[in-house]
């Protein structure tokens, strides 16, 4: 942007581009402008970063509890609580909240992940103060109106039903169920047809009272703001928020299934099979996270640079898209390969994937693959910091998972230091082709027999179980 007429603008670079050092590659090292951090007496952590490119601001108020904290009989509770927070306080009705946000041209949304619940807002920076007052009111004083709860339940139930028309989402949820049969990670974060109607106002207020506390929250503000002034404003807005209990016990770490299990979710009208295959992965604070990012990129996360896409799309033409990923959470989350293919080629896709994975475990990365993968992460790191919302979510990740104050500035060098040996080691340790959870949303008639045949070949080591499950 070269000109902003009539707007206050200082050409402060968001990121300082430094000449490359050591192994970090050519892309320049990321160094955030000094950020202001403050801990209020009630425990609320506040982080403010200045960025004056455009007259906008991103605000993220995060509660460090998400769907992972749902009681087993109440899937969906964290998400419903976060949503209800936007639907009323003693001084504002749901309608007033909506009018106020929209008339500022702002956005305000609630997002629940496995590990946190966030109220996020984007706004013109001149409205930062108003949005802060607003968030403070909602987070502390949410009133959970019964009328709004009834409507929310109705919306949720409608959404749960219509979601069934999206085979990709169904595949994701059934995969989680198969991999985590006894754990909150196996329950749909949006709730179920049983849990949504059963959730009471008392469930929500109890979740709110124990989790929505200053000591369990982080407030991040990035944009065209003056940090000292903003922190003063935050102090006033949030000083009365209760600190809450020091620590909340979360669920236990999930246990890996012991054998291969193939579940065919039968939907005979589909013309493509959605495939999810994987196993237990890692927690976000696992020290092997860096080499494992590289390993996953080479295996299936790196698009056309990955071996799985090369084999299954480029060489075989079995699919349009394929991706593999570790969902690294507070506790070990899934590793999953996601793809889709015509019914006829389902066994081939599964078999080829396993063979590619084993070959990679055995031989490790080629030098060129290793360099390209590292370079992707090292040189590409600045892309995460392009927008205020991007900066806010990078800072949130650091805070939420306790990655340490130096995480961002050391990220590129740590990634650059990953070696071929290390990648081979973690590939052997964390990829597992003998205890796979596999879910296919498919025309079971057409696929079952051939998968049973594949199962008998010994490709999974010990043969697994092949089951057909009803779709609805």
């Amino acid at each position: 942007m070269s000109e902003l007429k009539g707007l206050r603008m200082k050409p402060t670079p968001m990121l300082l581009l430094q000449s490359a050092r050591g192994e970090a590659g050519a892309g320049g090292l990321v160094k955030l402008p000094p950020l202001q951090k403050a801990d209020l007496p009630n425990g609320l952590r506040v982080i403010v970063v200045e960025s004056h490119d455009l007259p906008t601001v991103a605000i993220n108020l995060t509660i460090k509890s998400g769907s992972g904290a749902n009681p087993p009989e109440r899937p969906g509770l964290a998400g419903m609580t976060a949503e209800m927070v936007l639907l009323g306080s003693p001084s504002r009705s749901a309608e007033q909240i909506a009018e106020e946000v929209d008339s500022l041209g702002a956005t305000l949304t609630s997002i629940s992940t496995w590990d946190c619940s966030s109220l996020t807002s984007t706004a013109l920076s001149s409205d930062t103060g108003r949005m802060l007052d607003f968030l403070s009111d909602l987070a502390q004083n949410a009133s959970f109106p019964r009328k709004e709860l009834d409507l929310l339940k109705q919306r949720r139930l409608n959404e749960l039903k219509t979601k069934l028309d999206n085979p990709s989402i169904v595949a994701n949820e059934r995969f989680a169920e198969v991999l985590f049969p006894e754990h909150p990670y196996g329950h749909p974060p949006d709730g179920t047809a049983a849990s949504v109607p059963a959730t009471t106002r008392e469930d929500l207020t109890a979740f709110h009272a124990s989790h929505y506390t200053a000591g369990n929250a982080i407030l991040i503000i990035v944009g065209d703001v003056a940090p000292a002034k903003i922190i003063d404003r935050v102090r006033i807005a949030f000083e009365k928020w209760q600190k809450g209990k020091p620590s909340l016990a979360g669920p236990e770490a999930p246990v890996s299934p012991r054998e291969t299990r193939i579940v065919l979710v039968d939907r005979s009208d589909l013309t493509q099979t959605q495939i999810r295959m994987g196993h237990l992965g890692i927690a976000r604070n696992n020290p092997d996270w860096f080499p494992l990012q590289v390993a996953n990129y080479i295996l299936g996360g790196g698009g056309f640079s990955s071996r799985l896409l090369d084999r299954i799309r480029v060489q075989k033409g079995y699919t349009y898209g394929l991706n593999s990923s570790f969902s690294a959470r507070m506790l070990p989350g899934p590793f999953v390969i996601s793809t889709f293919t015509p019914h006829e080629t389902v066994p081939e896709v599964i078999e080829e994937s396993i063979l590619v994975e084993r070959e990679f475990q055995e031989r490790g990365p080629e030098p060129r693959e290793l360099e390209e993968a590292k370079s992707f992460f090292v040189s590409g790191y600045p892309r995460s910091f392009e927008t205020p919302a991007g900066i806010a979510s990078a800072l949130l990740e650091v805070e939420l998972y306790g990655l340490g104050d130096r995480h961002i500035e050391t990220y590129q060098n740590r990634m650059a230091a990953v070696t071929a040996d290390l990648v081979r080691c973690v590939a052997r340790e964390y990829f597992d082709t003998k205890r796979l959870s596999i879910v296919c949303v498919t025309k079971a008639d057409e696929v079952r027999e051939r998968l049973e045949k594949l199962n008998r070949t010994g490709i999974f080591g010990e043969p697994g179980r092949v089951e057909v499950s009803a779709f609805f």
Partner: protein, 434 residues
Amino acid sequence: MEPRSPVVFDVREHRLDNGLRILTLEDHSAPLVSFQIHYAVGSRNERPGLTGISHLFEHMMFKGTDRRPPEQIAREVQASGGTLNAFTTTDNTSYFENLPAGKVELAMDIESDRMAHLRIDEANLKTEREVVRNERRVSLVNTPVGLAEELMLSLLFDSHPYRWPVVGWDSDLKQISLQDCMDYFRIHYAPNNATVVIVGDFKTEGAVVLMRNHFGEIPSQPAPPPVVSYERPQRGEKRGILKKVAQAPGFVAGFHAPGWKDPDWPAIDLIETALTTGRSSRFYKTFLKPGRVSAISVASGLFFGTIDPSLVQVSVIAPPGGDIAAIEKEVWREVDKLAWEGLTQEELAKVKKQREASFYLQAESNFFKGVQIGLRQIRQGSWRGMNTQVDLWRKVTNDDLKRVGSRIFRTDNRAVVTIQPVSTEEWESFGPAE
């Protein structure tokens, strides 16, 4: 609300002798650059028998050149810390590389290489054809409204190529030959049919010199044949039914509407916003919040406003078991209210501010700024609309909304396709879904 002057985008314009247009916008706030090449070709340039060739050909552009083996382009960009992709629409086919600053020449090298020296053969057409047919199934056939939308477009448009989906008909995808692809490439992938947009941390002067080095020798081609089809005024409502396995009924409706260049387009933007943006929007309050529908959306144009007149689309999914005929009536009642009575003064001020704020928020990203610049150049004939857009929204009056709304949202001006849930047996009795 204090009045603000709109942000001004200082886009610089250059043109090479072979006709290649270069639009640059420097933004040194982050060490990143987005390089984009937008070809003025999409499904509107296709003919029956060759539907989907624009998109299929986009896939072929990753298949290598004289000096790059298949898919190496993607590997090179990612190895430089960049990301790349491409997208095909009705009106444009666009390729982009988002890179760390200092790497922009890699994008120039790749894009000039594949413009001048693309290498494709029967083998990679065979693979990519299956990939694209697979994409059609997963992104259109097996989605909640894909087939209904496809049917609606073919009803709404009689003679214009907007009547077929960008991904094309499966029967055509099976037939397109290597020769078709090569002809298509020669006609449309010429420097005089392309606009390069560079946004981010680079210096224009140096970039233009590099551009000339990389693209300057590529010869221009005769201009592609113009698209001459146009739609006649519609004389009466068109309706269709799409039966599929679904949890709930729904409908997809299209109303004929002008193209992006039309002076009434800013009013259409505001109507769309008033109906569906935010929780104070009319559709949210009336339909979504009380659970009377499961999903409802309004989309004007096709991805953005279009070159030729196209449509405003309204899509609804009812709650399971919902009475779709009754819901449809209520939706039209709400639309008519806006079209005939306009907005309150507060609402009008609100939707203008929403538009303006989201315009700024999008401008945080080099990529989105570049897409706006490139698509405006191709679809509006100039990128300059970037700098007048906010003023145009500000000038829209309630009378404009009523005039434009009541002209577009007429029963006789629309096509409606109802989605009717059926059993798997009935679905299968219709024959294969492709």
